[in-house]
């Protein structure tokens, strides 16, 4: 007899509990504000320093280099959403969102590019991005004298300065003698 009433009891329990299934694609998802989702890089603020590239564990942020340009590439497909780039960004250009609906049928949708033009040294080789140089000069005013030089030119000027003090002349003569 007890067995016969079992389905009826279940209906009573189900009626008390009600519907538990969420209607997800047709209503909002269940995410908290602490959820770590997609990062958004602001091209207005980014200085192209590459701190995020060094911090990124899966190399989702990569710096593609050419003589004239530095391109910051963000590939969402490889990102593990750890938000370490947000912690290390010196200018706060990277913002975190709670966005997670990233499904796509085209891999090209997952790429973000930010192109930086390089500042050129007097010898012609490309150095750091223009914005990064401006940022460094703002932070430490003394560097204005040598911030525009590439590492090779900077080394050369240092050797020249040392040789001027020790030997008395500069340039090729100092190296040969």
């Amino acid at each position: 007899m007890k067995r016969v009433f079992k389905p009826v009891e279940l209906i009573v329990i189900a009626g008390k509990t009600g519907r538990v299934t969420i209607k997800y694609p047709f209503e909002g998802p269940l995410i908290s504000q602490e959820f770590r989702g997609l990062i958004v890089i602001s091209p207005e603020k980014c200085i192209g320093c590459g701190a995020c590239v060094n911090a990124c564990p899966p190399n989702a942020l990569e710096m593609l280099e050419s003589p004239d340009k530095k391109i910051l590439r963000y590939y969402i497909g490889r990102c593990i959403f750890c938000w370490r780039c947000i912690d290390v960004c010196p200018v706060g250009a990277i913002k975190g969102t709670t966005e997670f609906e990233l499904a796509t049928n085209d891999f090209l949708d997952l790429y973000t590019y930010i192109t930086h033009s390089r500042a050129h040294c007097t010898c012609g080789t490309g150095g750091e991005p223009v914005r990064m140089r401006r940022y460094v000069i703002e932070k430490a005013p003394i560097v204005e004298n040598y911030a525009s030089k590439c590492p090779d030119c900077r080394k050369k000027s240092l050797i020249n300065a040392v040789s001027l003090r020790k030997v008395g002349f500069v340039g090729e003569e100092a190296r040969t003698s």
């Binding site: 969420i22 694609p25 899966p58 969402i76 490889r78 990233l102 499904a103 949708d109 997952l110 914005r131």
Partner: protein, 159 residues
Amino acid sequence: MEKKLERLKRSIWIFHLNTGSCNACDIEILDALTPFHDAERFGVKLVASPRHADAILLTGPITLESLPKVINAIEAAPRPRILIALGSCACGGGIWHDTYSTVGGVNSLLKILKERGIEVDAVYCVPGCPIRPEALLYAIALIKGLVQKKVKPEVATAE
């Protein structure tokens, strides 16, 4: 082929293929199938054999050890077959993208499949580490045409 993919919009039977993942994405798949999220609302059913499946859920960076089995399983799925890459590992290799023992994501797998003459009709990519169960439901809704995709490529110039 577009017509054949239209036919898949009725109900998608999925086969779950773990290719060396850490089991986080696999647990999220099970979470999506529980009554709370209930993927069966969309006709999704987990099947035991790739021969019965419409879509293959690929989790993990494809390790060299699992590569022959993955190719066999994909070959066994009937056309039209959909490949759904779940999680960062399957989409682009994740933190294993340049290790010696993995192929490095579904892009490299597609190249290998092309060499062997195995065609895959549609590839969907669901980034996340691990994916949320809602992200899987969103991908299924995207295949069925219930929602619009949100991500788009961005190219910005800073001076």
